[in-house]
Subunit: 353 residues, 4 copies
């Protein structure tokens, strides 16, 4: 078969590992031929493609980024965009298309599938909040980078008797914050799933101080938000999100300022940003990405189109792409409880994880 | 409650994270008191213990090793060993005991449980082959170290047109070899689950050479063994294992010599050994170890004695300790298939993963 | 002898390695006794000290931070501060004092030396800009962390066809920016030593784009500043520094906005901040810090007081503390030339490194 | 100018960084053209070359190995080898040749220079023992890898009350052992510069044990050798080297066996081998390699042929190639003293570092 591949949405460690696995298993076991569309859906829309063979994918397993590059181009927002995609796929003689991407990217997969294109999906979100799968590749790498950063600021916080706030990715969910916060031994972890109260956080910090721990490390997801009645609303830059909750602008820095004001302890913020999503994937992510790639090419040859590979427990399975779109997977109560378990909340109300 | 803790068997990254989680949750949520027995069962046998509190476990999360030290001492092999353990536990006023260890260590837990001691278990094996749980902490760290080593020898193999054999841990199972081999892009992966044939391996190496890839990286588990009819049996140091299979002595070096002899390509071996089991645990292992610790102290307060925490899918559950002892968990056919999928075996019989 | 030790100023990987080397060589070879003053000069001022022995320094070599903690407390700004320090040192029977710190910290060492206290200094600045020594410990660790971050954003910049600006430490000098920029393969490196022009930077980025490199990585020291005639002065938050040069406020983010405006290319900023100064020191820094510690205790027993250990070439030597204070060491023209050498400046004026 | 480049001898992290720097500065500043000869001198001998341009060197800075591959082929051992090299260089219109390699490789550079070829050299030895330069790229990476391994075995040694021997590279000199041993906090460091005595080593280990440190880590260079009167000579595999000194075969494992026999403490060995010389170079090595590359292309245009770039202090200079050949640079007494300073040798004779 002649199979197209593309990667869409944000960069994520493991994209190259998926591409490599699809091409290698396809070549060795199924005798397929491959074409890569460049820069996500833009490559299909503008017919920008190049052949992919064993040589193209040699040595890319440990490399971050994607040899096919990526974009957030959405053909459904271009006039006749979906039609042009269908046409360009036909023009290239594409028998099936492997689409690696998140929510937005897969919504186009679904539209094309409904137009008769033989699509299979590979889930991708560094935030790990795509519904239907237990883990997405790239997440473990992001957690590893964040944990290393938390380890580093720990020594500085302790040396200087400081509070340090580390802002990590997670616009809608707290997966990265919860995993890196627990792994890094953060004293407080703040996630979108549980709106928080600055006064309460300040109390935890003061209580540590009172038992002779003169430093604290707080991990906050970029999408964490204030509980509705929090008094600090008046004092920091803020907007209301789609749920009407208040969001601090630049949560890390804003929170550091608030805590310093309330506790009197020197407080600093670190915003990890883009370093969380680039670079060489961890072994865990390379294995997961490779399994997704193998699973995807198998789906093609099993003719399970409109399906997406997912991880359930330690097994690769598949679900209809449409079931995964536009649903967010949140951090489980069990994990939130683990995070809370390790904090000294004797006497606290429980509104922060 | 007054709770004892011990760590037994081989060193494994994450032991300290378990201890810390047990003590923190126990202190903050259950008001427990803790005693650590030193050097595994030896500490119980010889009544060598010390109190453990929040201060004792501060800062240990990222550290390898175990603050309680460890040993392979087996009280059932000492005269009245089990009796003396029971007596020493009673003497210390221990209400319950959290035992962190593998097969051998947990077999004593079971014996003590049968004698009325309130024991809960936490599984530990760096090889990841303990039955009943999907993952053991320390495994991801070992895989990460092995993968990094494979990445490194890859550049040397390629620069020199060489074959390099990397011997990793795995006496009875091929988990570390399979994960690190796939993650490191090894060209051949040899595991105990699938006895191999040196001629066949040599063919794969030669085939790569013929298509212009003048180097190969082979990952071999220390317990990998020759298929019964393999002609190399006469030529290398070997013993028969308990299954009557031939085992090469020092498989990595022996295999390298055999491959060089058959292919004529310069071949080198690297034996990773002890560096795979020490040092700071990965974020993944710290999270898993912490969840086990939280789960174990919860089991104590749920009075589920004789049970061991396990990971199933992404959930912490528990099973009777006795169910896990003396059963090995092998690499699944699905994962072996992933490893095979990525290799160029067009024309090969499939006897190696 | 009874010897005091303190660490002052900002956290820096390697402080513990210095302390350990002083205590070990002092104990094994000179039979000294040690006292650690806590939190820099504050510990001397407030007489907050604790004994230090082999046990206290066991296992601290690979750890970031400082077991003695640190502060920026300056006794010369407290009433009778210097007098109180002298008195407290006498009260503790301190025969000599080893002071590990930068400019500010050593200015107090000099004042105490002039008052008859037997002081030796160990230089410390993560920015590597202390005059008199070739390298300071901590610098290599900071460069390593920054380089790893640059590696990571490289893959994202390339995958997304983006410009990414990485802001690193370096208020007065560009050592970290130059080393990490060259090591990370940055396309432009901006340092305090060479005021820059935004238009010119934008031209370099556009020229890369024109030859098919659709991404760029720019490394900027936090203290980099605009050349005097730069037209962007009107458009960004700015202040004038002590030299009357314009400084952008939050140079990384400001510069990203300017470049995006002028080139039309999507541009992002990453501000590394505190993660550059914490965590385990690199092997290079551990060796250097250990050599400084050995050198410092040797200076004490050679009675070379008022002196500071320095690295010259690959030798440990000493200079009067007073010679090093208040002079900044700048990046050499040779290194700036290396940075410029690797950039495509065909047709450019040379105002940025 | 049309300039040839080659890399010879063993793999070493930073080779690609040198190649990249030569090509980039040559292209941007001197308008040069480049040809890469493949697999060291073999490529010149067999006229196996390919053009090198900006595209060829894009993205190679962080990668281990060498895009030109390498070999130990020595044209002076082939009939008319030198003549054929001269002829092939002329045939390709090569105006000057940049040779990156160690002793053996540069001895050919010298022979060709004497035949009128315009050669400049770049020193390369992972062991850091090439005479004339303070540091060689690759060395810091090897030290970093070895230090990380020592950190890891430390936790295992401590958890198990074990002695662990770590064998590192260094056939003729102890640079890697000394740096990684000091940086990793090894209790004993054994190097070729100072023949050792097993009884004495065993005493140090026992003395630690007596003061409650029940574990030890020993770092040994592969070329370390026994002092002449050592009694263990009869008991282990051994050969005499060119100096008539006894060498244990496989020093790491042999030494572990001897120590266990004499102390009764459980002792294990780890042999790091090839993982020390592959993989991504450290920031330090990338900077040094880049400076060498820039220096080499500058030498060409300064017409300083027959010269080799070297690092002196923190400056790039040059020396005649012939001055560097066949002289080994040994670890300085100052550094050996640092290593000895940190060990508990109260009462010991000083025969090991």
């Amino acid at each position: 078969m002649k199979i197209g591949i593309l990667t869409g949405g944000g960069d994520c460690p493991g994209l190259n590992a998926v591409i490599r696995a699809v091409v290698r298993k396809g070549t060795f076991h199924y005798n397929d031929e491959f074409v890569g569309f460049l820069e996500g859906w833009r490559g299909v829309l503008e017919n920008n493609a190049r052949p992919l063979d064993l040589e193209s994918v040699a040595g890319i397993l440990p490399r971050g980024g994607t040899i096919l590059r990526t974009s957030r181009t959405n053909p459904s927002k271009t006039e006749n965009g979906i039609d042009r995609c269908v046409e360009n796929l036909r023009k290239n003689g594409i028998d099936a298309l492997v689409v690696i991407g998140g929510d937005d990217t897969q919504s186009i997969s679904q539209k094309l599938f409904e137009r008769g294109i033989k699509v299979v999906g590979v889930p991708k979100t560094i935030d790990n909040d795509l519904s239907g799968t237990d883990f997405c590749f790239g997440f473990d790498t992001a957690v590893t980078i964040a944990t290393e950063a938390i380890d580093r600021v720990h020594t500085t916080a302790e040396a200087h008797n400081r509070v340090i706030v580390v802002e990590v990715m997670g616009r809608d969910s707290g997966w990265i914050a919860t995993y890196s916060g627990v792994a890094g031994g953060a004293d407080v972890i703040l996630i979108p799933e549980r709106p928080f109260n600055v006064d309460e956080i300040s109390e935890i910090v003061k209580r540590r101080h009172n038992r002779g721990r003169y430093f604290s490390v707080i991990v906050v997801a970029e999408g964490a938000r204030l509980a509705d009645g929090d008094g600090s609303q008046a004092t920091t830059a803020q907007t209301k999100d789609q749920f009407g909750h208040v969001r601090l602008g630049g949560i890390g820095n804003a929170l550091a300022a608030e805590i310093e004001k309330r506790t009197g302890f020197e407080t600093r913020a670190v915003v990890l940003g883009h370093i969380q999503r680039g670079g060489s994937p961890t072994a865990f992510d390379r294995m997961l990405a490779t399994r997704y790639g193998v699973g995807a090419i198998d789906l093609v040859h099993q003719e399970k189109f409109g399906q997406m590979v997912v991880l359930r427990g330690n097994h690769i399975e598949s679900i209809p792409i449409i079931e995964s779109i536009a649903k967010t997977s949140y951090v489980s109560p069990e994990l939130i409880d683990v995070a809370l378990s390790l904090q000294d909340r004797r006497g606290n109300k429980k509104t922060a994880a």
